[in-house]
């Protein structure tokens, strides 16, 4: 039932965006001007290709996000289980240990200056 509702919602959302695109490609003006089809670089002739190497920092940000995100997602079930647990001291101790390890990692990241963008 829930899944059926979701699927209906999803399909309607997809159809909506497809219909919007379809309308404009049906109604829109069509004139093929070669200059318009070119890469836009503020009117200057484009130099080189767009697939080149970009800064490693983007990648580093993504991978660090992944690692910290996993830690935070681990905390979600913890936050839900805390209230129903009978042994709060035990849960708190686990949380503190978890956070200390996470903070060690965080401090290491900040100290290494790996995420500093300016040189």
């Amino acid at each position: 039932m829930e899944f059926a509702s979701f699927i209906v919602f999803f399909i309607i959302a997809c159809t909506l965006s497809a219909v919007l695109l379809g309308i404009s490609s049906l109604l829109g003006q069509k004139r093929k001007i070669v200059r318009e089809m070119d890469i836009y670089e503020s009117g200057v002739n484009p130099v080189g290709s767009a697939t080149r190497q970009y800064d490693i920092k983007f990648y580093l940000t993504a991978i660090l996000f992944l690692l910290f995100d996993v830690e935070i997602v681990f905390l979600l079930p913890w936050a839900l289980a805390y209230k129903e647990s009978s042994n709060h001291d035990f849960m708190l101790a686990g949380f503190i240990f978890f956070m200390v390890i996470m903070l060690v990692g965080y401090i290491f990241v900040i100290n290494s200056k790996a995420l500093k963008w300016e040189k």
Binding site: E2, F3, F6, I7, T51, R52, Q53, Y54, I56, F58, Y59, L60, A62, I63, L64, F65, L66, L67, D69, V70, E71, V73, F74, L76, P77, W78, L80, A81, E84, S85, F90, M91, G94, F97, F98, I101, M102, V104, G105, F108, V109, S112, K113, A114
Partner: protein, 177 residues
Amino acid sequence: MAADIFLTILTVVFALMVVFSKKTVVSAFALLMTLLSLAMIFFQLGTVFLSAVQVLINAGAIAILFVFVMMLINLEQFPNNREKSKVKLVISTFTMLVVLGVFALVINNNIETLSVVNLTDNSMKALFDKLFNAYFLPFEMATVLLLAAIVACIVITTHEKHENEEELQILKTEEKL
């Protein structure tokens, strides 16, 4: 039931696309679609939590990493390496054997025992209970593992920079000389 079968076929088709697509970026997006249809299967089974976590971690973070790599290292500049090599042959044979072995296990054993019974969001609560009682130590160890991963990725990415700096230093001193 129809939804089950459809989602399963979708997942398998996308998974095959990951392997067989010749364009790396298409592979990466096929991987994303595989993960998303897996999340749909979880949802269809009734665990919104698992499907949300699947989307958050696997689709939202890991697949982004893959796409980033594809984009950042400009794979188009490398010629497509499709030569046959012995290493490839050995690895693919081994993988096929493992997959066939798993299939054989599934078919030989009673399939009922492998299917997850009553997987709902309510049974998630039971899962949390287990996670924070019986499996508390592995849960804590997970964070240690993540710490190791953080340290490793920082060391790997910043290591080269230091070398460059040293090289620069050497160059500068040479210039002075």
